[in-house]
């Protein structure tokens, strides 16, 4: 078997902790058993959470206050089985996904470029970094009125919120990754008279990929959050999940409010999975 970390794929991945537990138990789990061990714990937790949800909703909440936590079956029925509601939620889900993705792609391009730029000299890195930290620490809500004045109250403003909120983790992780190469590796490239471009392409960027994908995964979730927050304030343009959540709150429509929250969470999970999968394709399973 190759010792290269890139040689493993998901089928041959061995969880050392699980293997140790199996050894202790004196058994070799089947593939079905391994899948069950992965799926069952979250499934059981889901059943317990759903039970608690129904208990609180039906037993502890007075009917007049049930909008605070509407029964789960009512949430699912209203959100997924009523055509008009599902259509609204699915449409808003699509808009949020599209704008968050546009924001994320721009943040990725900007973030990687800035990190590479900073890698070129310590002077540039020291010059830029404090302002990037400042950008990260300014509450995004404080910038909202300004973004509206400058860019209007439509989709451009929402995308800018996504970029601002998603940018820093990409820069920080890419910088971390670019600085992860050892002196020996760099010396080897210098020995072969590799130029800056080649060092970047052949050494720095491949070595930085795992860290970069960690940044993308964090930022993907943040971009979804940014789009929904943007929708609270910039309500021109197509209806997204933020706008829908606002309108459901206005009339205390608890079931659909929770439905919109479920759709929002679903989108977050999808982007998390997508970037986990992409990371595996790009870096190999060893990192995961």
């Amino acid at each position: 078997m190759s010792l290269s970390p890139y040689a493993f794929d998901e089928e041959t991945t061995i969880d050392p902790e699980q293997a140790q537990r199996d050894d202790v138990a004196g058994r070799t789990p089947t593939r079905g058993g391994r899948v069950a061990m992965r799926v069952l714990p979250p499934l059981l937790l889901l059943v317990v959470a759903a039970g608690l949800w129904e208990l609180v909703s039906y037993v502890f909440l007075d009917p007049s206050r049930r909008f605070l936590l509407p029964p789960l079956q009512q949430v699912l029925q209203q959100s997924f089985l009523v055509g008009a509601n599902l259509s609204s939620l699915a449409g808003a889900f699509g808009v949020t996904a599209e704008l968050a993705l546009v924001g994320l792609v721009i943040a990725m391009a900007l973030g990687i470029s800035i990190a590479i730029f900073m890698r070129q000299s310590l002077f540039i890195e020291r010059g830029l970094y404090p302002y990037l930290v400042l950008l990260q620490t300014v509450p995004i809500l404080a910038l909202v009125p300004l973004i509206g004045f400058w860019l209007g109250f439509s989709t451009t403003a929402r995308i800018v919120v996504c970029i601002l909120i998603a940018l820093f983790p990409i820069i920080a992780n890419t910088t971390l990754g670019l600085n992860a190469t050892t002196t020996a590796q760099l010396d080897l490239f210098r020995l072969h008279r590799a130029g800056r471009g080649r060092v970047l392409r052949k050494l720095l960027l491949p070595a930085a990929l795992p860290a970069m994908f960690t940044g993308f995964r964090i930022s993907a979730g943040l971009s979804v959050v940014g789009e929904i927050v943007g929708g609270f304030f910039f309500q021109r343009g197509p209806t997204d999940l933020g706008i829908l959540i606002n309108s459901y709150v206005d009339v205390l429509n608890g079931p659909l409010l929770f439905g919109a929250i479920i759709f929002s969470a679903l989108l977050g999970v999808i982007v998390f999975w997508a970037f986990t999968a992409l990371a595996k394709v790009a870096c190999g399973a060893w990192k995961e």
Binding site: F67, G148, S154, F233, Q235, R236, N246, N253
Partner: protein, 405 residues
């Protein structure tokens, strides 16, 4: 949100136009000075060449019956920009029904513009000719975004405080302090709160400034809080459309306390007052007339408003029942009424000066010019003083507590 969902029912006011309505409004011909009085000629209707080719008017909230005058100016054959949340249509002279040769564009505010004030928007988009907001907001914004009011389609401030009558038996807003009940307010240090605290009718400890206009806290506490709202919306919405409450609420107009800004002070920039003087001389009487027409027959415009809210998809949705209730309440609570003098839609300078004085002394306003007074922010020079609205009741108990059942 501050204001939102709304609804349908036909026509008490439409009936009133025929003299049979429950409100008892007189027919259009009842007074030579009201509604459809044959004022201008077809030529007088033309705004082409003196007004911008598209008269843009910025609202302070999403479409609702309180904005009836502005939508009354627009023909029903306009186009809806659902994405950017505005409605563009030929501007019709409400006195004659004739086209004026220009278009009107009514821009939704509030959530449609990131809650940016119309005063500010007049300065960020110079193509907007008129904005609409309450006079206290206009005064507060004056140091950075000065504006001059040219007409006020509403006479009395339409904001209210409302409460659960089963829990609190207030006889007036001045009873609030003694109850120590939490008061939900849009911001803690508002001019209104400063005024009421100075009067000792509320205490600073009572105020929860985090209110965002949703019914959640009121309902979740079983009506254990006092809430800010609008006479035209919350009383009906809570009593008839909010399934989680569905009980009567009581309210009192804040105007009764002496805090009485114009709710829909319609203004432009000081530069525009001169630049578009010829335009305003014709346009302002049209706005006056449009409000009168809307109150006499609100259905067409309410239907348009419902259609716009459906298209814009922001806020909780609006429906004809709320729109009809709002149009009636505006008259029954004397929110739309004739001033003592000066003509429908005119400003009473003494009232504005009282408000300025009150804000200066209770709210520590800063940045206002020396000798700041009503004449700096309001003008009646474009008002047609002959226009009046005809309405002969019935009225609600507008001097005290009103309960919507």
């Amino acid at each position: 949100m501050k204001k939102n969902a709304k609804v349908s029912a036909v026509a008490v006011l439409a009936g009133a136009l025929a003299g049979t309505g429950t409100l008892g409004a007189t027919a259009a011909s009842a007074s030579p000075r009201d509604a459809h009085a044959a004022r201008p000629t077809a030529t007088a209707s033309s705004l082409a060449g003196i007004c911008p080719s598209t008269v843009k008017i910025q609202m302070n909230w999403t479409p609702e019956a309180e904005q009836g005058a502005y939508y009354e100016l627009a023909s029903s054959s306009g186009t809806i920009n659902a994405s950017q949340k505005y409605y563009t249509a030929p501007l019709i002279d409400p006195a004659t029904g004739a086209k004026t040769g220009v278009k009107v564009e009514v821009l939704a505010g509030g959530p449609a513009v990131g809650y940016t004030s119309p005063e500010r928007l007049l300065y960020t988009d110079s193509s907007i000719l008129l904005g609409m907001d309450a006079t206290d907001s206009q005064i507060e914004a004056f140091s950075t975004s000065p504006t001059v009011g040219v007409v006020s389609p509403m006479y009395t401030y339409d904001n209210v405080f409302f409460w659960n009558p089963a829990k609190y038996h207030f006889t007036a807003i001045k009873d609030f302090a003694a109850s120590n009940a939490t008061l939900l307010s849009f911001g803690a240090k508002t001019p209104l709160n400063s005024f009421l605290e100075a009067k000792k009718w509320i205490t600073p400890g009572q105020v929860d400034g985090a209110y965002n206009g949703t019914p959640a806290q009121f309902v979740a506490t079983g009506g254990g809080v006092i809430s800010g709202g609008y006479a035209t919306y919350e009383p009906y919405f809570y009593a008839h459309q909010l399934s989680a409450w569905d009980k009567p609420i009581s309210y009192e107009l804040i105007a009764n306390t002496g805090y009485n800004p114009y709710s829909e002070d319609t203004f432009t920039t000081p530069q525009n007052v001169t630049r578009y003087a010829s335009c305003f001389k014709k346009l302002v009487p049209m706005i006056q007339q449009a409000q009168i027409n809307f109150e006499q027959s609100p259905n067409r415009v309410n239907q348009l408003i419902v259609k716009l809210d459906d298209a814009y998809k922001i806020g909780g949705g609006y429906n004809m029942a709320v729109g009809t209730y709002a149009a009636q309440t505006l008259l029954k609570d004397r929110i739309i009424a004739n001033p003592p003098r000066g003509g429908f839609g005119s400003f009473t300078m003494k009232r504005v000066n009282t408000l300025i004085h009150l804000l200066e002394h209770t709210h520590s306003l800063t940045g206002l010019p020396a000798n700041f007074s009503a004449s700096k922010i309001e003008t009646n020079k474009f008002i047609d003083p002959t226009l009046e609205i005809a309405y002969h009741g019935p009225y609600n108990n507008v001097g005290g507590v009103i309960t919507e059942r």
